[in-house]
């Protein structure tokens, strides 16, 4: 079980929800739960081939899961999962 934080850029697809507690053993299960709950988010997180898109990074607490076990990274009770998409604004 972990708390997933949704950044502003993706809240358009979660009815404005900014955090949600989801059940799962690993990051892959948590993210699958997330896109099951918020169907509109799916195309933004996964490509048509079902691969995680490279402009969204998933952090488990402070660590990028790409440097852990990717979607297989184990999640424990109380962990924080952050979605960090690239954003482009500046002017």
């Amino acid at each position: 079980m972990a708390t997933v934080y949704i950044p502003t850029a993706l809240r358009l697809f979660t009815d404005g929800t900014s955090e949600v507690v989801l059940v799962g053993e690993n990051i892959g299960e948590i993210v699958t739960e997330l896109v099951t709950k918020y169907g509109d988010l799916k195309t933004h997180l996964f490509s048509n081939e079902g691969k995680l898109r490279s402009f969204v990074n998933i952090y488990l607490n402070e660590e990028d899961v790409r440097h852990l076990d990717g979607l297989n990274t184990k999640v424990s009770e109380g962990d924080k999962v952050l979605l960090v998409p690239s954003i482009a604004g500046g002017i």
Binding site: T8, A9, L12, D64, I91
Partner: protein, 386 residues
């Protein structure tokens, strides 16, 4: 002074001006001379660029490079505090230069009224020590990043969206670069710009000021620079988070076996030049749409903007389905009619039509060219533009 000569002392006036720096042991006379001898390029003189430029000028950066092709617009003034109401219509680099001179006449300004491109980036960046990112698009960020890696210069990154910001320092010695964080940009249309998504005016002030601070630290070589760390900021929750960044050995530009060894076409890289085989989208002009409505032809108008944007103004008879929901709710489209999709400027509407077609929608469907903005410009002059 020749090109490589360094200033070795400060004038009496400069000593008075920078006294609060000079009494800091971490800065002192030696540090202030480093600042005076530094050359910083700020790309973009808008929301992020404004506080960066103002603080670097005040701090006494000897040479400030500015590059921007834009002119000051009224809608900039809510956050771009370097420009004033009187500057509307002037090139941004002109009003920014005036402000710098007003704050600190000791600063030498090198300004480029131009867009940073693959053709000019190396030539422009090579003479500066540090590049600060104040741009508003992915293609320029990747261009700055790659140029800085190729030229071995640090790049102070900042980015904002709505109520959220990110800051980091890339390519500082062996630190990670922007591509280590995000190897590829998002598909066009998935991440809206500030013009489409909005931004709270104070946000670039906060993020830009952090960028200015990191720039000064890089110049002085003090403290712990924000390299290998991504600082994210949520203005609504008033929360900073620090995330770890690592260099990616596979990084195409700074990794062990780089595949990008010279600048590329960043518009193509960011998907702005669409290949011909991509799903095509038909557009309709505001005038043609008005004619269809006048002729009482069967048209269904779908506005994909957010509810609070629709309150500013909409076309009569519009049905509202937000961008994020349209593909799922495509059964609500009337395929016996011409369907016209409306957004703010006509980009997201085209993108969502592409998604609809890719998901199997076969009805007659158009994107309103130029969005509701063109409707306000060409048809309904009473409608506010935003």
């Amino acid at each position: 002074m020749g090109k490589d000569d360094k200033y070795e002392k400060l004038s009496q006036d400069e000593i008075s001006r920078y006294s609060r720096h000079l009494i800091l042991p971490e800065v002192g006379l030696e540090g202030q001379l480093k600042i005076k001898n530094s050359k910083v390029l700020v790309v973009g003189t808008g929301g992020l660029g404004a506080p960066v430029i103002l603080y670097l000028a005040a701090a006494g950066v000897g040479t400030l490079g500015l590059i921007d092709f834009d002119i000051v617009d009224e809608s900039n003034l809510q956050r771009q505090i370097i420009h004033t109401t009187r500057d509307v219509g002037r090139p941004k680099i002109s009003s920014a230069t005036d402000r710098i001179k007003g704050i600190n006449p000791n600063v030498k300004v090198i300004s480029y009224n131009d867009r940073l491109t693959s053709k000019n980036a190396i030539e422009i960046i090579k003479d500066f020590d540090i590049v600060v990112d104040g741009t508003d698009n992915f293609q320029t960020r990747y261009l700055i990043n790659d140029s800085c890696v190729l030229l071995n210069k640090p790049f102070v990154y900042g980015s904002i969206f709505r109520f959220e910001g990110q800051v980091s320092v890339f390519n500082d010695y062996d630190g990670p670069c922007y591509r280590c964080l995000y190897p590829e940009p998002p598909p066009v249309g998935l991440v809206p710009s500030c013009a489409e998504g909005g931004v709270i005016g104070v946000l670039p002030g906060i993020i830009g000021t952090i960028q200015a601070n990191e720039t000064i630290k890089l110049i002085l070589g003090i403290g712990e620079v924000l390299s290998g760390r991504l600082l994210t900021f949520d203005a609504l929750r008033m929360q900073f988070k620090e995330l770890k960044l690592k260099s990616d050995k596979e990084c195409p530009v700074c990794g062990e076996h780089p595949s990008v060894t010279e600048l590329i076409d960043y518009e193509e890289f960011c998907g702005l030049k669409r290949p011909d085989e991509q799903t095509s989208v038909e557009e309709i002009s505001a005038i043609d749409l008005k004619n269809l409505i006048n002729e009482k032809r069967s048209v269904q108008i779908i506005d994909i903007r957010q509810p609070h944007e629709l309150q500013i103004g909409k076309i009569d008879g519009t049905k509202a389905i937000p961008f994020g929901q349209l593909v799922r709710r495509k059964d609500e489209l009337d395929d016996s009619k011409k369907v016209v999709v409306v957004c703010k400027i006509g980009l997201l509407s085209a993108e969502v039509i592409r998604q609809l077609k890719d998901s199997g929608y076969t009805g007659e469907i158009y994107s309103l060219k130029g969005g509701i903005t063109s409707w306000a410009n060409d048809i309904d002059y009473t409608m506010a533009r935003y």
